[in-house]
């Protein structure tokens, strides 16, 4: 049936997928160095919006380091850094509000998928994301015809990831291209994926090893074990979105 080609549920995800994925971020280890932000942008062709648009609050990084302080001057105490990206909710509020199925759910992997070429830019998903994890292409940031300063930068683009044009919503994908790559390697070597074999760009770049990635449907993995410790928590847990990113904090 020709329909299968257009249905991610039937096509890749259910047959070849090797499990549900999750991430653990240790806030006690995070130094706020922004290396993950840079690595993510490089890996996923996230555009630089420029000074002016950044001033308008249109940064497009898929991951951001939130930093807060408590107390009032001069007794200011920094709280721990909080890297926030798409939480890959099990019950994602961003998904049902899309009128054209541009944000759908991969049942088998429990990931939120964003289909760029289906997006028509209503931006409802971004409004309905309680984590503000989605970013929007306000302009053709990657188009060298519109931004001459980019001409020399064209070669940095990652060929595994689509370059998005203006008017399209995007967000962290858990480096799905890396998951796929590892899955393919494992399949060709006729074995299961090892724990810690899939490393998203942010985790790879983190000098403090604050980010761990792995399967959450397997209780023996690092992420599953970290997620059941008493330090574990989720962002805005009370909303019932069941996010797949676990934060560890308060242990010291």
């Amino acid at each position: 049936m020709a329909n299968d080609l257009n249905s991610p549920v039937k096509m890749n995800m259910s047959q070849d997928a090797q499990g549900k994925w999750g991430m653990v971020i240790d806030q006690d280890l995070c130094t706020g160095c922004q290396a993950c932000v840079a690595a993510c942008s490089m890996e996923n062709n996230v555009p630089f919006v420029g000074e002016v648009d950044a001033g308008y609050g249109r940064n497009m990084q898929w991951i951001r380091i939130e930093r807060f302080w408590s107390g009032s001057f001069p007794d200011i105490k920094m709280t721990s850094y909080q890297p926030v990206m798409c939480q890959q909710c099990h019950k994602a509020p961003c998904e049902p509000v899309c009128p054209v199925y541009a944000s759908v759910h991969s049942e088998s992997e429990d990931l939120n998928l964003q289909v760029y070429n289906r997006c028509i830019g209503t931006r409802y998903c971004a409004n309905n994301c309680p984590y503000q994890a989605r970013t929007f292409n306000w302009r053709d940031y990657q188009d060298a015809r519109q931004r001459p300063e980019l001409v020399t930068l064209q070669n940095h683009l990652n060929p595994d990831v689509t370059v998005r044009r203006r008017g399209v919503m995007e967000k962290c994908t858990f480096c799905i291209q890396r998951i796929r790559h590892t899955e393919d390697t494992a399949e060709s070597e006729n074995r299961e994926i090892r724990d810690g074999e899939v490393v998203p760009a942010c985790a790879q770049a983190c000098p403090a090893s604050a980010i761990t990635f792995g399967r959450i449907d397997d209780p023996t993995t690092q992420v599953s074990q970290a997620a059941v410790t008493s330090r574990a928590g989720h962002l805005l847990e009370d909303l019932g979105t069941i996010p797949h990113v676990t934060y560890l904090a308060g242990g010291a």
């Binding site: 549920v9 099990h90 019950k91 998904e95 759910h105």
Partner: protein, 174 residues
Amino acid sequence: MSVSNTLLAVFEDIEPAADGIHKLHELGVADENMNVISGIPIRPAILERPSAVTRVGQIALAGAFLGLLLAVFFVWGIPYLFPLDAGGQPVYPWPQLLIIIFEMTMLGLMGFAFLGMLVDSGFPSYTPKEYVPDISDGRIAVLFSCPKDEQKKFVDALTKLGAKSVEPAEARQL
């Protein structure tokens, strides 16, 4: 039926028109051989006429039913053909179905009420018809057919009752 002629009697007001129609009944013109053309809607009872038959209601109801089926197809049929998971919501949701059913039923109802009005009245039609422009100035025209040889009798009777003119009706471009 013998050779008959169609006449168009134009009245200034409702009262003489009602009298005229009463007279026509007396002279033996059946209701189905008569029609009233007016610039405002007039209750049939005022003119001693039977109520016109309309199928607009039935057509509108049929449209409403079609709209309902279409809504069910939209909300439940599409996911059946292309099941996609979104936000942990059921693939065949009830609340959404109710909303779309309401909208599509109403669209069907009103759209077909309009179409029914067109079909039942034979609109749009641009063929010549029996009509005088005076009607939209508030005059009332009575269109009736009578035997050709008795035409004079009818004309006299209606003129006496206050008809402005009683003339053989000719179809003309509106």
